[in-house]
Symmetry: none
Subunit: 415 residues, 2 copies
């Protein structure tokens, strides 16, 4: 059973907003076994909307439409949908009551333009939107289901969770879909592929493996399609276990979470704490960690020592070390990580210093030269990394390399 | 002249990742006068890709394709594009050299699967990807332009900026478009609109004003469309000057740069330095600043004092203050900002402490309670802010509020 998502509105097409709705909707549909075949963003134009509806209906069984239902634009979208089905518009009393209530709650007069929000195509079944004035609309025509929802995310989410998903589940005979994601770090896509080639070749046709690479990490996602969810989950888990066993030295998580979250979970489970001494990553590693709720259980804090003075005063890096070897050196990064451990009293510490670029390189130390140190009281690893000349990428690669080194060090020390 | 964007890959269709590439590409195309008619995300399936290419070519003049170019088995894009044009695959020596160089730089052997990255459809003009192994490909067929790029954002962005945009500009007859952006901070969209209503009403039809709001900031973008770029620029600049004059108290930059970059520029011009004492923003402000080249001229560093211990040891916040008023209080944030100034010896300092959520609130100090202090040796402002219960948004709003306060303090003290 296939679905398509159509997003109507120019703000996505001019790049003013990123379409986060579609990914959210797609994830919800996947959970109930509806596979999304295509996502399309189209303009606020009648002919274009009609074409998009026609194309989607030839590919999919369920077509979800978001956007284009605001009080200024709803003429075109709703009217176009009515034209698509060849029906007229009628006033829906429940919607009018909902709109009136919302305006009454905010003590605002109900204008004609707001009253029109209760006009819907004659063949639709209204889904009442408790979070806004634009109604959801459900159409069942020629064996296909069409649903139109407003584009405001919390209104769309309300309608999906309360109305659309339950109604889809009760209306359709859906197959089971099971996904399992394995997060690996520190090994390239093609090397991983070679290591698990025989497992991949042995996959049955109803189980697919996807490689999703991202800066030093590769997500391996197994997706199984079938009749019985329980059976499918067993099968998918079995293949996942074989892959994990094969590449376990680079597996960071057996679920779909970011690398830093996997590290936070691992450390939280073991009661371990972490501090940071960042120079060229400039607070990025701290930000990665602290965006996650509960990170304060593990992360004590850190210093962003951009100037040499701060490296000395807060971390206790020796002036002579900086003079003799420079800020970007194995000696300095070693004293940084030792300073972080000593001053911030954490179980583990990460230190990073480098030349993020695009300027500041020398023949000896070109842009992209980065030193990373990871240490506990008993163990320490120091590495020199060599990246390119893109600042943002150097910062992100340094961070993920540092997390990878921390992960390896913790595993090697059995912690 | 119309464009379409096709994104290939199942990870968007199952909602695992949000398609941020398309919005970025759309914004770049708009800047050179290419309007995006439709954005489509399609699956990694041959027939589906062929259909999408056919549909797009009937609507648009330029078709940009991202994704599906990795070295592993799930990527069939290149072969499908060759089939679409009815051509075979050839090995491209420049691409092979690029791939070999990248592998040599990382001291890794070149596998057969990597060698295949140099295979391209026979009718394509290769765009060398200096940031990765998958080449960009440019096709000119039947009066239409097709461009295929990898889906990894920084590789796609490199190819767009260095190759695709310049080539589109030189190949196509595009109208002259002139944009001028004014960045404002701290005033809502509707208030701004009211203040400049008469200027907006007086705009000629070929000059449009867009309000682009984002977390406490509003970008005002004037776009002029016409024949002569020089004439147009004069006109647009003239209207921009009138708007800037009217709302100058909230203007942070007269160009399209992020708020923190405007602050860095302002401080660098005046030889001023900045340090940070972050708690709930967790390194986010440091990261915002240090992502920009040259930030080290202004930003000395800072501490991410997540634990109370670090607030005491590194910033010198008094134990009694933390005991009596708590970590989230005007007293603590004041001592934090004073500690940053004293220890890091900067001209200005920012301190932030709060409850980012989603947990950790109390009846007195609910989630979203944030204290911000900004100070120089002579001046200090301390403010309590109240946000909602979304962690990410609280972190971002705290950061932008702090930058706004710093901007105001610097302007008031004539620095």
């Amino acid at each position: 059973m296939l679905a398509e998502i159509i997003t109507i509105g120019d703000e996505i097409l001019i790049g003013q907003i990123v379409d986060t709705n579609s990914a959210w909707i797609a994830a919800q549909l996947n959970l109930i076994g509806l596979r999304v075949k295509q996502i399309s963003s189209v303009s606020d134009e009648r002919e274009h909307i009609l074409t998009a509806l026609g194309e989607a209906s030839r590919r999919a069984d369920v077509i979800l439409i978001t956007g284009g239902l605001g009080p200024t634009k709803d003429d075109i979208t709703k009217k176009t949908i009515a034209d698509y089905f060849g029906v007229g518009m009628v006033e829906n009393p429940e919607t009018l009551e909902n709109v009136s209530k919302i305006f009454a709650r905010f003590n605002r007069p109900l204008l004609d333009v707001n009253r029109q929000q209760a006009l819907v195509p004659a063949n639709c079944q209204v889904l009442i939107n408790r979070n806004g004035t634009a109604p959801g609309m459900w159409f069942s025509e020629n064996g296909k289901i069409y649903v139109s929802m407003p584009g405001v995310p919390h209104e769309m989410m309300y309608l999906m969770e309360e109305e659309v998903i339950p109604k889809l589940k009760s209306t359709l005979k859906l197959p089971a879909i099971v996904h399992k994601t394995i997060l690996t770090i520190g090994e390239g896509e093609s090397f991983l592929a070679r290591r698990i080639a025989d497992i991949e070749d042995a996959l049955p046709p109803h189980i697919k493996l996807a490689y999703l690479p991202k800066l030093g990490q590769v997500r391996l996602r197994l997706s199984g399609y079938g009749e019985s969810e329980g059976r499918l989950r067993e099968e998918v888990n079995d293949y996942a276990a074989r892959i994990i066993e094969r590449v376990k030295n680079v597996v960071l998580a057996e679920e779909d979470i970011p690398a830093e979250k996997a590290i936070l979970n691992y450390m939280a489970e073991r009661g371990l704490t972490l501090s940071l001494a960042e120079s060229c990553t400039g607070g990025y590693i701290a930000h990665l960690l602290t965006q996650h709720p509960g990170s304060s259980k593990v992360f004590l804090g850190g210093v962003v020592a951009y100037s040499n003075n701060l490296k000395e005063s807060v971390l206790g890096v020796k002036h002579e070390t900086l003079e003799q070897f420079g800020a970007v050196s194995g000696e300095t990064v070693t004293e940084m990580v030792e300073g972080a451990l000593a001053h911030f009293k954490s179980d583990y510490a990460i230190a990073v210093t480098g030349i993020a670029g695009p300027d500041g390189g020398t023949p000896d130390k070109p842009v992209g030269t980065v030193w990373v140190a990871v240490a506990s009281v008993n163990n320490k690893v120091v590495k020199k990394l060599t990246f390119g000349n893109k600042r943002k990428e150097n910062i992100e690669r340094s961070a993920i390399s540092a997390l990878n080194m921390l992960n390896t060090l913790m595993h090697e020390s059995g912690k």
